[in-house]
């Protein structure tokens, strides 16, 4: 018995003191708090978003603004974090849902409790006050496909990647891409909607499989931030850089080498930094009791004049104008 008590006592003392050190400053601050919850932390896309959240925090020192996210891509883990944050009493949540459907219940409970809820990349979320989108999703998907079709010369086999089948925006992009491809009778869609789970290694393996199955494939349109890296690597290793077209969502910095080698034709993106700031800006406005109206300036580049529509629930849909398509020659203008 003494043995257990001693051991557990020591362990517990260590844990408590570690937590004590970590919590200094995290809880002590007064003022309203906005917590941004991302799909998964530690990947370039959401690291970039965090720079935006930090920037916003710097310009609003009186508020307690942080970003958190699960260590693994699992909607259950994200759900748990949001549960705890609501219980903790965060004043506003800015959420990038892994799977909007799974979060409906908790976001409703959050709003019932008086928490401000803002979402991003979830224009079908019913239980949100404002969903912020960087641009109109159909236009973005179509624009990527126009670029892909141009590179493919309007013919050949092509396929699509999405983060997950539940990722609504990704499905919209490839859907709009498919619509656009119908203008070119020579373009044949094969094995569409491969799920990447935003994992570059997994995508690489899947892309290799596709290259083996369809040696004559000509194009890839990808969606999640890491997909271009996985597919680009597979294309480059197969010695097909410049011969196969790859257009997808990606960040300039990680994609630079593949853009230079020609493995990636072009990347499309919106700046997650700006999106993170826009979400927080909306949350701040709502916290202050303000309203979001058509043509409003959120004070963030690309969101100077947003268009506002009625969302699927009681909330609003806010579109910015933050689309960027960059290739070999232009990506250096956007290095981040």
């Amino acid at each position: 018995m003494n043995q257990y008590l001693k051991t557990s006592g020591l362990f517990v003392a260590a844990v408590v003191s570690a937590l004590g050190m970590a919590s200094q400053g995290a809880i002590a601050q007064d003022g309203k708090s906005i917590t941004t919850v991302v799909k998964i932390s530690g990947i370039p896309w959401f690291d970039r978003m965090e720079t935006g959240v930090k920037k916003f925090a710097e310009s609003n020192p009186e508020m307690n603004i942080v970003q958190v996210g699960p260590a693994t891509a699992d909607s259950a883990q994200q759900l748990q974090i949001i549960n705890d944050l609501v219980a903790k009493g965060t004043d506003a949540l800015a959420v990038v849902p892994m799977d909007p459907a799974i979060l409906e219940g908790i976001l409703k409970r959050a709003m019932d409790r008086g928490t401000i809820v803002v979402t991003h990349e979830a224009d079908n979320q019913k239980n949100t006050m404002v969903d912020v989108e960087a641009f109109d999703n159909s236009a973005y998907g179509a624009a990527m496909n126009v670029r892909l079709a141009e590179c493919m010369g309007g013919e050949g086999k092509w396929t699509t990647f999405v983060g997950s089948l539940g990722s609504r925006t990704h499905m919209q992009w490839v859907g709009a891409g498919e619509e656009n491809a119908k203008q070119h009778s020579g373009m044949v869609l094969v094995d569409p909607n491969n799920e990447s789970f935003d994992d570059a290694n997994g995508t690489y393996e899947k892309a290799k499989e596709i290259l083996r199955k369809h040696p004559d494939i000509k194009g890839f349109q990808t969606s999640a931030g890491n997909d271009v890296l996985g597919v680009g690597r597979a294309i480059e290793e197969a010695g097909l850089a410049g011969k196969i077209c790859l257009v997808g969502t990606g960040l300039p910095n990680p994609s630079a080498a593949y853009l230079d080698s020609g493995a990636i034709t072009a990347i499309g993106f919106w700046d997650p930094q700006k999106a993170g700031m826009a979400m927080n800006s909306v949350a701040k406005t709502l916290l202050a009791g303000g309203e979001i109206v058509d043509g409003m300036d959120l004070g963030v580049e690309g969101y100077e004049s947003v268009s506002v529509k009625q969302g699927p629930g009681d909330g609003l849909l806010v579109f910015g104008n933050g689309m960027v398509l960059a290739d070999k020659d232009t990506y250096k203008d956007y290095l981040f």
Binding site: M1, Q3, Y4, L5, T7, S8, G9, F11, V12, V15, V16, L19, G20, A22, S23, A26, I27, S41, G42, V66, V68, G69, P70, A71, T72, D74, S75, A76, Q77, L79, Q80, I81, N83, D84, L85, V86, A87, K88, G89, D99, A101, I102, L103, E104, G105, I106, R109, R113, S164, L165, G166
Partner: protein, 337 residues
């Protein structure tokens, strides 16, 4: 008299310490009724799955159930689609809910029985069998739902199961405690429970003693499946929607909880109350870390450290058992080592 359960002592101590630490670090919000309710309503999903893993481990012969969360998602999706095809959610909410609840249990039982039959009749190693059925269940769920989330809707009775309270305690948590208590009693006081532990401790001896080993193993995995089905029910009731890839991390967490609770991976020993406490402690710890605002990578680290700590302490218990061999009579549960 029963010997002192070192693992239980440690769990209870940790439970108390985490509550106190949480209260101190958060300035009280951690102990607010809302947060206690919020944490309690998060425990049942993982707790039910962990008890399932415990049962499988107790059955011995490398017993484990990897198909738990896949089974839970399948139960939610299949039963949801079935119930919706019979009763319109809005017009017959009670009938719908009853059908859905029974459906979840039945799907879980069938899936668990399938596991049990493959393991006991075909002699396939549990880890391989349940890995296979895990993929199979996931596949069926994807096909049934087309890969999308299935909206179960929120008829009043079902919503109550997931989000309602009785005397301030979440109904899902009460269900979990009820099921756990029942199972704890069954394991301790029925012939099935005793035979399960005996079989897990020493299969050969059990077989030579005339135990129907195949039936015991099948029942055990069927129970594990039933628990997963109930977890599926609670997931659906809480989240309104069910989806095939929900809770992919639960698989390992459930095993973590079982091992933390002192369940012997080689079979023959495990207590339900320890598993319940271990699940609650894991929830307390992860909520505490979220409260403090630490990165979720730290949470993985903390869980790992916790697991190692428990293995370490349990190891000491083994040493004590060894000592006890020379001085007094042995605990029948500790037949190994």
């Amino acid at each position: 008299m029963r010997k002192l359960d070192g693992n239980l002592v440690l769990l209870v101590t940790l439970f108390a310490v985490l509550l106190v630490a949480g209260g101190l670090l958060s300035g009280g919000t951690y102990l607010s009724l809302f947060n206690l309710q919020s944490m309690a309503s998060q425990v049942p999903e993982i707790g039910l799955l962990a008890i399932g893993v415990m049962l499988a481990m107790c059955a011995g012969d490398g017993g484990i159930d990897l198909s738990g969360i896949a089974m839970a998602n399948l139960a939610g999706v299949a039963s949801g689609l079935f119930a919706m095809s019979i009763f319109p959610v809005d017009e017959a909410p009670v009938l719908f809910t009853v059908t859905f609840v029974i459906g979840c249990a039945v799907v879980g039982l069938i899936g668990g029985t399938l596991n049990g039959l493959i393991i006991s009749r075909l002699g396939i190693t549990p880890i391989l069998c349940t890995l296979g059925t895990q993929m199979f269940f996931t596949g069926v769920t994807v096909v049934l739902s087309g890969g999308r989330a299935v909206r179960i809707g929120t008829p009043e009775p079902l919503y109550e199961i997931g989000n309602g309270y009785v005397l301030g305690i979440p109904i899902s948590f009460l269900m979990f405690i009820g099921v756990a208590t029942l199972l704890g009693l069954v394991l301790r006081h029925t012939p099935y429970g005793v035979k399960l532990m005996m079989t897990g401790s020493n299969q050969k001896a059990a077989e030579f003693s005339g135990f129907a080993r195949a039936r015991i193993v099948t029942t055990t995995y069927a129970l594990s499946g039933l628990l997963a089905g109930l977890a599926g029910l609670i997931i659906a009731a809480r989240n309104v929607n069910v989806k095939w890839d929900y809770g992919t991390t639960y698989l390992l967490i459930a095993i973590l909880v079982a091992v933390m609770a002192g369940v012997k991976p080689e079979g023959g020993y495990g207590r339900v109350i320890n598993v319940v406490l271990a699940a609650i402690i894991l929830q307390l710890l992860s909520s505490l870390l979220n409260f403090v605002g630490l990165s979720n990578f730290v949470r993985d680290l903390a869980w790992g450290a916790l697991l190692l700590c428990f293995l370490f302490v349990n190891r000491f218990a083994l040493v004590e058992h060894f000592d006890a061999l020379f001085s007094s009579k042995r605990d029948p549960h500790a037949s190994k080592n």
